[in-house]
Symmetry: C2
Subunit: 197 residues, 2 copies
């Protein structure tokens, strides 16, 4: 990458390029391991310019995590259609594939959200809440779940079930196939909601 | 507390007294907030003696967390009996009551186990594994679940479901009663296992 290439990018394009690089690093390592040095080297820019765009190392990490959370929410959006179970299955297939593709980064996102990093926690909590709200807002979902305090509690717990099950499976699939995994986490929602009614 | 009281306790009794004090503090605050100063003040001993018994602040915290994890495993042991669902219900009632009684400390245990504290993570992971193994070893459980890679995965995910649901409920019960909560987390196991078969 040369100075010529650099001048061709607008500030927005440059910011976008840096975020995408960050996401690539994020996919294979934990949030705290995203190296500013490696990043500025790969992007062919100075550390100073990186700080110019994101304020600080922490600011850059938060922007990458925010983008990862936005991607997760967008990629797992339920498709059009009438069958709530088919939509759930499509959404969870996309979720499982997202976690497989971004294993280390996603694990670190869930751990950071559970642990002490407040900014990351808030970003992930918003994404999680968005996905839970969306579950209740999906057209046709009334056949599957009614919005009550009990089902809200169960759907939240189901999200924890899905996260834990998929991450455990990534560590050791133990003969369970991806399709079986998707089926398990999909069937779990109506099964759990059924018990809360 | 006076020097006279102090000399009456054997080293084992003193260690036990310190652990019990630690557990009392643990119940109402996070692991990292257990104050050595407050503890030595309440026990009427010097910080030096505390270090003598536990090696370090971190050593004391780990001993308290180990005791808390042991208590959790012991208190949630399934009772004698033939009905696996009745045993599960009794075990989860004890679990919910344990979390209610030790809310802050238990939350901090789960968060520390998820987050960066490796020693605490290992302690809690052993307790969690012990509870999962016990679920599979309970006499009469064959009627409820068969030990396969799929059910292992689901039972582990169910534990995450239970932890998240009970902690969310502790923050905001939202009209759901303790008995309803116990029923939800109990019914969840056969419901989830049913989908994995």
């Amino acid at each position: 990458m040369t100075a010529t290439t650099r001048t061709r990018l607008s500030p927005d394009e440059r910011r976008e390029q840096l975020l995408e690089l960050g996401l690539r690093l994020f996919a294979g390592s934990s949030i705290d391991e995203i190296s500013i040095d490696r990043l500025s080297e790969e992007a062919g820019i100075s550390r100073g310019l990186l700080y110019h765009y994101f304020g600080s190392k922490q600011g850059f990490r938060e922007a990458v995590v925010q983008r990862a959370a936005d991607d997760l929410v967008a990629q797992t959006a339920p498709p059009e259609g009438d069958d709530p179970i088919a939509k759930l299955l499509a959404s969870l297939t996309a979720y499982v594939d997202y976690v497989i593709a971004n294993h280390q980064g996603y694990r670190s996102l869930v751990l950071a959200a559970a642990g002490g990093n407040e900014a990351v926690r808030a970003i992930y909590e918003r994404a999680r809440t968005r996905m839970i709200d969306r579950t209740f807002e999906t057209p046709g979902v009334e056949a599957l779940l009614v919005d009550t305090p009990r089902t809200r509690l169960v759907v939240r717990g189901w999200v924890a079930f899905v996260e834990d099950t998929v991450l455990t499976w990534c560590d050791d699939a133990n003969g369970v196939t991806r399709d079986e995994l998707v089926q398990i986490v999909t069937d779990a929602l109506p099964a759990l909601v059924g018990t809360a009614d």
